[in-house]
C-alpha cells in the first residue's frame, strides 16, 4: 500500500513537472509556418518564371524567445514573411525551445540543400553559428546583433553580420528625454554590461547632453537581461533620487522598470519610461494612462528583409559587418508618440537631419563620449 501510494505520488509529481515544463510555449497564438510556405508557392506559380527567384529559400532560427516574443524574433520573422510575400519565395522559421537547440536547428538549415540563406536571430547563437558556418563553408548565413569572428579575429566569409547603429537611435530618445525632463535628472538601465549595451548608454547620454547640458544621467547595469525584480529595484532607486525618465536597454529586466513606473504613476507621480528594440507602448499602459514616453526601435525586420534581398540578387554580404543606421531606417524612435509634444518631435526631426547630414558622430564608447562636444 505504502509503495503504491509512493508510486502514485511519484507519477503525479512527474506529470506536474513535465507538463509545466512543456506548457511554456503553448499559451501563445499559433502561427503555422505552413501558411506562409503555401502562400510562397502559390505566388510563385502565379507569376510563372518571370524572375529566376523561384528556388531562393530564406529561413531563420529563433532564439529562446520564440517567434512570438513581441520582440526581435517576431520582428525578424515579420520581415522575412514580408520578403517571402513580396518576391514569392519560400521562407520558414525554426523555433528553439532552449539553448541546446541552436546548433541542431542551424545545422538542419545548413544541411538542407534548398536553404539559400539561414538567419540566426540574436547574439546568443554566436558560438553555434561560428562552428556550423565553418563546417558548411558553401552555405550562406547571417546573424543579427553581433559580429562573429574566428580565432584570429577575422570575420567569417560565409556569415553576414547584421548590426544596428543603436547609438543613433538612443541619441534621439536622449533628445526626447533631455527636453522632456522636469527634474533635469534622467536614468539609464542596461542589461549585461557589454560593448553592445554601451552603445545605447553613450548615445543616450550624448542626446541628453546635446539638448540639456545641465541634466544628470544616472547609469546602472542590472547584469541580466531577464531579471525584472532587479530592474524594478534600480528603477525605484532612480525615481526616488529624482529622475523622472528612465531609458532601459535591458530586455526582460526592463519589465520591472515599467512595473515601477506604473506603480508610481498610480500614486500620482509624473514618471516616464523609454522603451527599447520595438515600440513598447503597450508595456506602459495602465488604467488611466501610459508611462511609455517613446521607444528606441531597431528595425530587425528591415535588416532581415534587405539582407535576404541582397542575397537573392547575388550580393550576399558574407564576411561583412552591416550596420543599419538612421539613414537606412534601421533605427529610430517609435511610431507611438502621443506622450511627446509636437515641439519635441520637431526637435527630434531636426537632430535626425543633423545626424543624416553627418554634422557630427554620435559617440558609441565611453572614450568617444568623453570627447563628445556639440
Amino acid at each position: 500500500m505504502k509503495k503504491g501510494l509512493l508510486m502514485f505520488l511519484f507519477s503525479i509529481f512527474a506529470l506536474g513537472t513535465i507538463l509545466a515544463a512543456c506548457g511554456q510555449a503553448d499559451d501563445n497564438e499559433v502561427e503555422t509556418p505552413a501558411d506562409t510556405g503555401d502562400t510562397g508557392e502559390e505566388v510563385e506559380d502565379g507569376e510563372g518564371t518571370a524572375e529566376d527567384t523561384g528556388d531562393f529559400v530564406a529561413k531563420m532560427v529563433t532564439d529562446e524567445g520564440g517567434v512570438d516574443d513581441l520582440s526581435f524574433n517576431q520582428s525578424a520573422w515579420e520581415g522575412l514573411k514580408q520578403f517571402g510575400e513580396d518576391f514569392g519565395v519560400e521562407v520558414d522559421y525554426q523555433q528553439s525551445s532552449d539553448a541546446s537547440d541552436y546548433a541542431p536547428n542551424l545545422n538542419r538549415l545548413a544541411r538542407d540543400p534548398e536553404t539559400s540563406i539561414a538567419f540566426a536571430i540574436g547574439f546568443l547563437m554566436e558560438d553555434d553559428i561560428r562552428s556550423v558556418a565553418q563546417q558548411h563553408t558553401d552555405k550562406q548565413f547571417a546573424i543579427v546583433d553581433t559580429v562573429v569572428t574566428d580565432d584570429d579575429d577575422n570575420t567569417i566569409p560565409n556569415i553576414a553580420n547584421i548590426t544596428f547603429a543603436e547609438h543613433q537611435g538612443s541619441f534621439l530618445v536622449g533628445v526626447v528625454a533631455g527636453l522632456q525632463t522636469e527634474t533635469d535628472h534622467v536614468g539609464f538601465i542596461g542589461g549585461v554590461e557589454s560593448g553592445l549595451i554601451k552603445k545605447f548608454e553613450n548615445g543616450f547620454k550624448a542626446g541628453v547632453k546635446a539638448v540639456n547640458p545641465d541634466a544628470t544621467v544616472s547609469v546602472q547595469y542590472a547584469q541580466s537581461f531577464n531579471d525584472a525584480a532587479t530592474g524594478q529595484s534600480i528603477a525605484n532607486t532612480f525615481y526616488s533620487n529624482g529622475a523622472d525618465i528612465i531609458y532601459h536597454a535591458s530586455g526582460g529586466t526592463g519589465n520591472g522598470v515599467f512595473s515601477e513606473a506604473i506603480n508610481r504613476a498610480r500614486n500620482g507621480e509624473n514618471v516616464w519610461v523609454i522603451g527599447v528594440d520595438r515600440d513598447q507602448h503597450e508595456e506602459g499602459e495602465w488604467a488611466d494612462g501610459n508611462v511609455t514616453l517613446t521607444s528606441m526601435v531597431k528595425r530587425v525586420d528591415q535588416a532581415v528583409y534587405q539582407v535576404s534581398q541582397m542575397t537573392m540578387e547575388g550580393n550576399f554580404p558574407g564576411g561583412e559587418i552591416l550596420e543599419f543606421e538612421l539613414a537606412d531606417h534601421g533605427v529610430g524612435i517609435a511610431e507611438s508618440t502621443e506622450n511627446v509634444s509636437e515641439e519635441i518631435l520637431s526637435a527630434v526631426d531636426e537632430w535626425t537631419q543633423r545626424i543624416l547630414d553627418g554634422e557630427f558622430e554620435v559617440p558609441q564608447t565611453d572614450e568617444e563620449f568623453e570627447e563628445f562636444e556639440i
Binding site: F8, A14, L15, A99
Partner: protein, 352 residues
C-alpha cells in the same frame, strides 16, 4: 511460469503506454489539420534519419541517462529525489569551474573535472539526505527548494565571477573536454562526445552497486521496508544519506557531461534545464532498472531531437509538437497508474 508472465506484463505496460501516447498525438495532429503519418515519419527521420541527428540523439541521451539513474537510485531506497535538476546544475557549474581554472594534463584534468561535478552534486544530495535522516524533513520539499537555490546560486556565480561573453563563461580548456573529433566526424559534426560511453558505464555501475554489493542490498532493503531493515540491524539513516549522496553524484556527473561535452561552458540559465525533471520520467518509464533507463533515455532524447524535424519536415507547428510530446509523456507517466490499477484488480481477485 509466473516469473515469465510478470516480465511480459512489465514490458508490455510501458510499450502500451507509448503506443497510447503516439495514438493520442496522432488524433491531435488530425484534429488540427496535419497529417500524423507525415508528422511521425518526420519525427523518426529526425531521430535516425542520418548520422548527424543520430549523433545528436545520443548526445541528448547522455545527461538524461545520468539524471534517470539519479532518480532511480534514490527511488530504490524509497526516496523521491526531485532535486536532480539542482544537483545537475551545480555539477555542471563545478565541472566547468575546474575545467577553466586548472591547467593540468588531460589524464588528471578530465577525471578531476568530472569528479568535481560528482562532488558538487553529491553535496547537493547530502543536504536533503541528512535533513531527512536526522530531522525527518521530507526530501521532496527540500530537494524542490534546493533546485531553486542551485539555479540562482549558479547564475549569481556566473554573472559575477565568470562572465566572458554575453551570457556564458569562457570555454573550458581542451584538456578537460569530452568532445571528440572522432565521434563528431563519424556523426557529421554532431556534438556527440565521449560522455555517452560514460553514461553506459554508469548504467552498469548502478546495476553493480545495487545488485552485487552488500551495501546495495542494504539500500534496497531500506527502500522495501525501513522498519524491517532497521530490525535486521541495518543503519537506515546512514543508508538514506548515502543513497542521496550517490544519487546527487550521478546527477552532478550528468551536469558535467553538459559542461565538458556538449557546451564546453555554462551560461546564465533563464530557467531550469528540465534535464533533471525529464530524468524523473526516464526513471519511471525505465522501471528504475539500468536497461530500462537506457531505453527510456533513448525515447526521450529522440523525441526532443526529432521534434524539431517535425516542424521542419512536416510543417507541424512547434507548439503542436510540444503538445504531442507532452501527451506521449503523459501516457508514459500514467503507465504506473495503469499498473497500479491492474495490480489492485489482481490482488482483489486473489483476495477472494
Amino acid at each position: 511460469m509466473k516469473l515469465i508472465k510478470d516480465t511480459a506484463v512489465k514490458l508490455a505496460i510501458p510499450l502500451i503506454a507509448i503506443f497510447f501516447g503516439f495514438f493520442a498525438g496522432a488524433i491531435i495532429m488530425l484534429a488540427s489539420g496535419n497529417n500524423p503519418i507525415a508528422g511521425y515519419a518526420a519525427l523518426i527521420d529526425g531521430v535516425i534519419g542520418d548520422a548527424y541527428v543520430f549523433g545528436e540523439t545520443l548526445r541528448m541521451m547522455t545527461p538524461l541517462i545520468f539524471s534517470g539513474i539519479a532518480v532511480a537510485f534514490a527511488f530504490r531506497t524509497g526516496l523521491l529525489n526531485i532535486g536532480v535538476e539542482g544537483q545537475l546544475i551545480v555539477g555542471w557549474l563545478a565541472s566547468v569551474v575546474v575545467g577553466i581554472v586548472f591547467d593540468l594534463p588531460m589524464v588528471i584534468h578530465l577525471p578531476l573535472a568530472i569528479l568535481a561535478g560528482a562532488i558538487a552534486g553529491g553535496i547537493w544530495g547530502f543536504l536533503p539526505g541528512i535533513l531527512k535522516a536526522r530531522f525527518q524533513v521530507h526530501e521532496v520539499i527540500v530537494t524542490i527548494m534546493l533546485n531553486y537555490v542551485a539555479l540562482h546560486v549558479s547564475n549569481h556565480v556566473i554573472r559575477n565571477y565568470m562572465l566572458a561573453s554575453g551570457q556564458r563563461t569562457d570555454f573550458i580548456s581542451p584538456t578537460a573536454s569530452l568532445t571528440s573529433d572522432f565521434l563528431a566526424g563519424l556523426t557529421d559534426f554532431s556534438r556527440m562526445h565521449w560522455g555517452f560511453f560514460l553514461a553506459i558505464a554508469a548504467c552498469v555501475i548502478m546495476w553493480f552497486i545495487l545488485w552485487k554489493t552488500t551495501k546495495g542490498y542494504e539500500l534496497r532493503a531500506a527502500g522495501f521496508n525501513p522498519n524491517a531493515s532497521s530490525y535486521a540491524g541495518m543503519n537506515v539513516k546512514t543508508n538514506i544519506v548515502l543513497s542521496m549522496v550517490i544519487s546527487g553524484a550521478f546527477a552532478g556527473i550528468g551536469g558535467a557531461m553538459e559542461g565538458l561535452g556538449t557546451y564546453g561552458f555554462i551560461q546564465i540559465l533563464s530557467s531550469f534545464t528540465n534535464l533533471g525533471f525529464d530524468g524523473i520520467a526516464v526513471a519511471l518509464l525505465g522501471g528504475s532498472t539500468s536497461i530500462g533507463i537506457f531505453l527510456a533515455a533513448f525515447l526521450f532524447g529522440g523525441l526532443k531531437i526529432g521534434a524539431a524535424n517535425m516542424q521542419a519536415g512536416a510543417n507541424v507547428a512547434p507548439e503542436l509538437v510540444e503538445i504531442v510530446i507532452a501527451l506521449i509523456i503523459f501516457f508514459v507517466a500514467s503507465s504506473y497508474l495503469i499498473r497500479l490499477i491492474l495490480n489492485r484488480l489482481q490482488s482483489k481477485k486473489e483476495g477472494k
